[in-house]
Amino acid sequence: TLDIFFLNSCILTRDQGLSYYRCMQTIRRMELKADQLYKQKIIRGFCHLYDGQEACAAGIEAGIERTDHVITAYRAHAFTYTRGVSVREILAELTGRQGGVAKGKGGSMHMYAPHFYGGNGIVGAQVPLGAGIALACQYQGNGQICVALYGDGAANQGQLFETYNMAALWKLPCVFVCENNRYGMGTSVERAAASTDYYKRGDFIPGLRVDGMDVLCVREATKFAADHCRSGKGPILMELQTYRYHGHSMSDPGVSYRTREEVQEVRSKNDPISLLKERMLSNNMASAEELKEIDGEIRKEVDDAAQFATSDPEPPLDDLCKYIYHNSPPVQVRGTNPWAKLQSVSSS
């Protein structure tokens, strides 16, 4: 068992504060731009937005090394950004253009970057994958860890419990993170889980419950968890209590299973960006003008990215059969009819 751990204080430098502010604000504006583009029907299909949860992605990235690994589910745009992909490439992937990070082949749920494994569409599947990445870290002895995220909905998937068992048995350096935003699609946690203490669901795996709206709490908890794994003690579980302003996806208005008042309350009292902003202003770490200037820069960056995402061409039809395989001789690919004989081109 772990000793009880309370975060009483930590150190935030001005540079760090500005960096976290910029990160979270960029995610916020990027997600709102995606909302806009979706309503204009320029983005189609699934689009699961992260606004409200910014402190989780920003805090985790601040608590790990660049060389560590991250895998998450489909609410993935923010992590794609924190792991190094530009807003441009993310929006262009959402609009399905050749300049998208996955060249238009993946879409919202399938974006990848070095040491970032998506973006996964099947609820819960990313958790064993994350433990496998951790196994590779252990096997290669590189001192790296994997952060495997999932939601309160996925927390009830059987494969998670299989994974907890193996991760603990083999002491895999995996930080399991439950982003509990209180609703799995339209089902509140009370209606889905016999135990809503998600940080305890790992049973024999030590668990932390963290205020997911406070980027510093997330950062410090992540550092603690990462240390735990890196020192060979095995996996650890972190529940981040957070909230999403949007519905489950763009096709869910998000008000049939919760009240507008509840959403508004979180926005006004617990917004992660406002929390950090107030903290910095009240401690004289930045001026309101300075933050406003950053807001302006971000607005421009996101607008430029949207401009690119709407004007970049769609991928050429030649891309249809590209990258089925890696490092493989071409194979014939059947098209829609027997005379449509296409050839695969592998990646290398």
Partner: protein, 343 residues
């Protein structure tokens, strides 16, 4: 490795090796060659493998490289795929492919599709292997053939060896392949010995995935098969040869990609085609071959419709007489060939 010394022919030593030992040798050689290769699955380490295919490997390579898993197919398959994402080259064993159904989401959605979805950014160099298809007396839940299910999916390669050379050469190829390969063995073949050529015994012996082999040339009818049924086809061909009917027996070796060219070339020569498989008829390997032949140049060379010889379209029964009559027997193959040839 156990082998029986065969006869001396012109000072050449002919070695015989059982399929399970050929698989063992393939894994042993690849584990030695590349330290990123490792094996995980139920009973693969300390038990030496449920069917002894991994005998001796744990003793030689240890805990890190030969990993016993709990009975958690979905979990350990996901772990294997994740390890492949992050730079390792896992061999993920299913005790039988029947249990792979528990994990099929990880095989299809996490492994098969990822290279494509990521536009080539994320490769998945993994092998899923284990016994597939019918065994003897293991009844309905343990006897299904999954060739058609996996071969349906783009992004996978699906391989089905018959003899020891196939087993070794194709497993080495699968392990060296940077893509997810479903490698379907057969439990009844594990203990069957076959000749191994000098070449096949070499550490660099690799067979190409996607190429079929003509096991027996002939002019009157093309028999196309995979796995254990290849042997039945050769037996049927031996019987028919006495009646003056010469069968060309093609061992597919790969179900996906399938060597359609080899089948077409043969059909254009023999004008008759019979497919033989252990799996169920509907939406199966034979059904796919029929469709492919119709769509290509060989169609115009057919003197009769293609005949499929398949397992009976029922869950596998237990009683021996029923089980024996649920899978293609040599007499079924002979009967079908004669009907196709109208003799």
């Amino acid at each position: 490795m156990s082998f029986l010394r065969g006869s001396f022919i012109d000072a050449l030593v002919v070695l015989q090796m059982m399929v399970r030992d050929a698989l063992n040798q393939a894994m042993d050689e690849e584990l030695e060659r590349d330290e990123r290769v490792f094996l995980l699955g139920e009973e693969v380490a300390q038990y030496d493998g449920a069917y002894k295919v991994s005998r001796g490997l744990w003793k030689k390579y240890g805990d890190q490289r030969i990993i016993d898993t709990p009975i958690s197919e979905m979990g350990f398959t996901g772990i294997a795929v994740g390890a492949a994402f992050a730079g390792l080259r896992p061999i993920c064993e299913f005790m039988t492919f029947n249990f792979s159904m528990q994990a099929i989401d990880q095989v299809i959605n996490s492994a098969a599709k990822t290279c494509y979805m990521s536009a080539g950014f994320q490769a998945v160099p993994i092998v899923f292997r284990g016994p597939n298809g019918s065994s003897a007396g293991v009844a309905a839940q343990h006897s299904q053939c999954f060739a058609a299910w996996y071969a349906h999916c783009p992004g996978l390669k699906v391989v089905s060896p018959w003899n020891s050379e196939d087993a070794k050469g194709l497993l080495k190829a699968a392990i060296r392949d940077d893509n997810p390969v479903v490698f379907m063995e057969n439990e009844l073949m594990y203990g069957v010995p076959f000749e191994m050529s000098e070449e096949a015994l070499s550490k660099d012996f690799v067979l190409p995935i996607g190429k079929a082999k003509i096991e027996r040339p002939g002019n009157h009818v093309t028999l196309v098969s995979h796995s254990r049924c290849v042997g039945h086809c050769l037996d049927a061909a031996a019987v028919l040869a006495k009646e003056g009917i010469e069968c060309e027996v093609i061992n597919l070796r790969s179900i996906r990609p399938m060597d359609t060219d080899a089948i077409e070339a043969s059909v254009m020569k023999t004008n008759h085609l019979v497919t033989v498989e252990g799996g169920w008829p509907q939406f199966g390997v034979g059904a796919e071959i029929c469709a492919k032949i119709m769509e290509g140049p060989a169609f115009n060379y057919l003197d009769a419709p293609v005949t499929r010889v398949t397992g009976v379209d029922i869950p596998m029964p237990y009683a021996k007489i029923l089980e024996d009559n649920s899978v293609p027997q040599i007499k079924d193959i002979i009967f079908s060939i004669k009907k196709t040839l109208n003799v």
